[in-house]
């Protein structure tokens, strides 16, 4: 059984259809990339998975449970954590408070402390800036904070939306390294990227979305070489 599964999902923004019968699967332990152009439906896919939007038709299941009519907090409680596009750091809250919010649904204080310690080890720069307001961090630091915040929630699966956006190449590389580390610790990852090559380097499998539906699916290594990718996605 796939961990996250979309089956023929249709989503509308008002009258505009964003997803047109999208289907995909992410197996436990995998790291999967979701590629596509601006406006192709990548972010909508993640928003649907995290129940920010509910589909008109089709089903979304996470660990076998139907979440297509669920609420965002139920999805978070189930362990599916979404790191949104643009990071959405709470700007006037401190770094520490941002992290604590990640553990909003975790009732066990000891567990939160343990995870905090782990995140501060994994991302030491956050430890240094603990008391600083989130809004004062640089773009890369904010991205790390967003990922750290998601880890406090204890994700079974992490969905990252364009983590490399607006970051200098060196920082992008760092972020990608952190993502690999997270996967190595056993967390399933769904990665949305516009930057196809960077994404394909760290992922196992990939889907290409065009106009609200998946048009290509395959092994990351094959896809790098697939000319159709260039065609469909890079628009040669």
């Amino acid at each position: 059984m796939a961990m996250l599964e979309f089956d023929n999902v249709e989503v509308f923004y008002g009258k505009v259809q964003a997803l047109r019968g999208l289907s995909l699967k992410v197996e436990e332990g995998e790291i999967v990339a979701l590629l596509g152009n601006n406006g192709a439906g990548k972010t909508t896919t993640l928003s649907t998975a995290s129940a920010l939007m509910n589909p008109q038709s089709g089903t979304v299941t996470f660990n076998g449970a139907d979440i297509s009519k669920g609420k965002p907090w139920d999805v978070v409680a189930a362990g599916l954590i979404h790191v949104p596009e643009g990071r959405r750091i709470f700007s006037t809250l401190s770094v520490h408070e941002n992290l604590l919010l990640g553990g909003y649904l975790v009732k066990d204080r000891g567990l939160i402390q343990k995870r905090l310690k782990h995140v501060y080890e994994l991302l030491p720069l956050l430890d240094e800036r603990k008391a600083q307001q989130g809004g004062t961090l640089s773009g890369g630091e904010q991205q790390m904070l967003a990922i750290g915040r998601a880890l406090i929630a204890g994700p079974k699966m992490l969905m990252l939306d364009e983590p490399s956006m607006g970051l200098a190449p060196l920082i992008v590389a760092q972020v990608m390294r952190v993502i690999s580390d997270i996967r190595d610790e056993g967390t399933t990852v769904l990665l949305v990227e516009q930057n196809a090559r960077a994404a394909l380097k760290v992922t196992d499998r990939a889907y290409v979305i065009e106009e609200g539906a998946t048009t290509l699916e395959g092994n990351a290594k094959d896809m790098i070489a697939d000319p159709r990718i260039i065609d469909a996605y890079l628009g040669a």
Binding site: K15, L167, A168, G235
Partner: protein, 265 residues
């Protein structure tokens, strides 16, 4: 004859961080200039300085030789500058035609008394607005419905409407902020052709764009920015060959695949 747009040592800082730090370039009539650079390089900030949304902290912007630095956006629009926005800034509850009519605000041709009494002058000017709106929608190749609110349109159509609105201003200088973002391959091709037709109207076009293929193909000159600084300015061929550009823009060592610098340009 002075260039349509001349940017000299432009600078803008936000809380000590210089988003644009010494940008200089010119754009002439019937010329297409591209401003490129990685995300966060300061391109949009530069656009906002030129169009008056930000007050530059240094340097100057000249339009046809006249200093327009630090004027209000509306005044700069009056001077003859038109623009589009990075994330579509259309009037969503209004119709396609009304959105294009926004670009014609400066045409005038009627006052409030005309409007209240529906004078012939008013009717003439409204008819004129409508003709123009249809004309520019046709010009950008918009084929959708025109009496419906913007929110019913697809992304590509909205992009077209935004360009039509900017064109309706009949400005001497047109700034396009990422016009190709979100477009599919064929839409990009028509955009390319559209930008050329706009240039042929006699307009100076400056565009920010990520799609290298399009940039290399359409632009006469390219200005490259990184971390607020201008690192190169030249023809597409010159820029492509510039090692500083390759290093800063595409990343060091094996990060060169970061941004697809493909294409045949």
């Amino acid at each position: 004859m002075s260039p349509v747009l001349e940017v000299r040592d432009l600078e803008i800082a936000f809380g000590g961080v210089k988003a644009v730090d010494g940008l200089s370039f010119t754009a002439n009539a019937k010329e297409i200039i591209a401003v490129i650079g990685p995300n966060g390089a300061g391109k949009t900030s530069a656009f906002n300085c030129i169009t008056g949304f930000y007050k530059p902290t240094g340097g100057s912007v000249l339009l046809n030789g006249a200093d327009i630095t630090g004027k209000r956006p509306a005044d700069i629009a009056h001077e003859g500058v038109s623009r589009t926005f990075q994330n579509l800034r259309l009037f969503h509850d209004m119709t396609v035609l009304d959105n294009v009519r926004a670009g014609m605000h400066l045409y005038g041709g009627q006052n409030f008394l005309d409007a209240i009494f529906h004078t012939p002058r008013f009717k003439r000017s409204e008819a004129h607005y409508t003709e123009e709106a249809h004309y520019w929608l046709d010009f950008v190749g918009y084929r959708g419905r025109r009496g419906v609110p913007i929110r019913n349109l697809s992304y590509g159509q909205q992009k077209q409407v935004e360009i039509a609105r900017a064109l309706a201003r009949k400005a001497e200088l047109l700034l396009l902020d990422e016009p190709a973002a979100g477009l599919n391959h064929s839409e990009k091709q028509s955009l390319l052709e559209l930008v050329r037709r706009i240039r042929d109207l006699g307009t100076a076009v400056v565009l920010i764009e990520h799609d290298m293929g399009l940039v290399m193909e359409v632009s006469e000159r390219i200005v490259v920015m990184n971390f607020g600084k201008e690192i190169a300015d030249g023809t597409p061929a010159e820029v492509k060959a510039n090692p500083a550009v390759i290093e800063a823009y595409l990343g060091k060592d094996d990060e060169d695949e970061e941004v697809p610098a493909h294409g045949d340009a």
